[in-house]
Symmetry: C2
Subunit: 194 residues, 2 copies
DNA sequence: CCGTTATTTCAGACATTACTGAAATCTGGG
DNA sequence: CCCAGATTTCAGTAATGTCTGAAATAACGG
């Protein structure tokens, strides 16, 4: 691998981390390389830069496309495919959240729903089912929330994050308003999303 | 594996999912089993229920303890260790967030900080460093926010989640108030956490 | 202390996943 | 329709990761 030291460190780190994630070392490295690159790269350039086989590059790129983390682009007068990582880091987070949800959360939710249709045959199964229901409820809340936040534009998202623990003060405020209005649960929260 | 069908499905699913996550099939299964169990189980019971080797159980439990997802408990008059998964699903989320952060995010932040101390030697490195700075900023924002939310009690957290997209309306409100107060950036947000 | 039972460690067997090179397929220009 | 460059597929191999049984260690009661 022949890369500027600064970039090499970054790429190698993502390679290692790729493992902890659901992707291979190579896939992590390819993504890291594209992320910091100031222009699209073709498969041969990537192969060369990372010192891996051409076929490995091809597979890695395919996987990254499946994750929607890189996209193909064509340069006029050049038949080769060029690949680049979308620039907007906020969008990257959205994409990641989306894909991980699709691959990890949704199948679990589906399984939980199926199980919850069953009738427990004894106290042991009954307890198990209750636990699964707890898990199901929590996951639904989390993903529902994530869905909503997902739709915020970058500025709103940044604002929300910058607020940090301030959120809890907003919640207090909301509660005061709610109580004030006669305890009829009509604060600024609850349902009716845009 | 001899388990009530309802539980078996759940355990097997977590085994599969374990793979996508950073843990082995066995570890996923052990956790799932403890999660739905209505009492602590000892290593032999787990071994028996999952049809795996005693040593595998021992290693799996050790890993789950490292994740702080299960804890050891002792029953009076019984020398064996009993294991159980903490009950509070909200707390589980906190633990997971905590550990994943420690294992995946923190090392990355550290690496990014190191790289950002370096002086880029050419335009290519300069662009790369700028991209890393973007990533660094985003991760800091996300983790800072997560830290704050982490400290909310279960009810506040539930409320926050239930609010969903309502958050954006709160933000609008905040902005109105801020502007109203003379555009001096003194809304309900910004710094000064509890 | 000693014997018994519980737990952990660890080297090797086994299984899974990642990577490569060669061959096959695709694509666009002539 | 053919050629050359580009990409993908795939079977075999290398590398990792997981699991086991046996042996070592620890913990407790007597």
């Amino acid at each position: 691998m022949v890369l500027p030291p600064l970039i090499q460190t970054f790429v190698l780190h993502f390679g290692e981390m790729g493992g902890r994630w659901g992707v291979s070392r190579t896939v992590g490295q390819i993504y890291a390389l594209l992320f910091v690159s100031d222009r699209g790269l073709n498969a041969d350039e990537i192969t060369e830069a990372l010192g891996i086989s051409r076929s490995n590059t091809s597979m890695g790129l395919k996987e990254l496309e499946a994750w929607r983390l890189v996209r193909k682009r064509h340069l006029p007068g050049d038949r080769r495919d060029y690949f680049e990582a979308p620039e907007d880091v906020w969008q990257i987070i959205r994409t990641l959240a989306d894909e991980r949800r699709r691959r990890e959360i949704d199948p679990t939710l589906s399984m939980l729903r199926d199980i919850m249709m069953e009738t427990p045959q004894n106290p042991e199964e009954q307890h198990a089912q209750a636990r699964m229901a707890q898990m199901h409820e929590l996951i639904e809340l989390l993903t529902g929330w994530a869905d909503d936040v997902q739709r915020l534009d970058n500025d709103s998202l940044r604002q929300l994050l910058a607020m940090g623990a301030g959120v809890s003060r907003l919640l207090d405020m909301k509660n005061k308003i709610t109580v004030f209005a006669g305890g009829k649960r009509r604060g600024v929260s609850e349902g009716e999303a845009s």
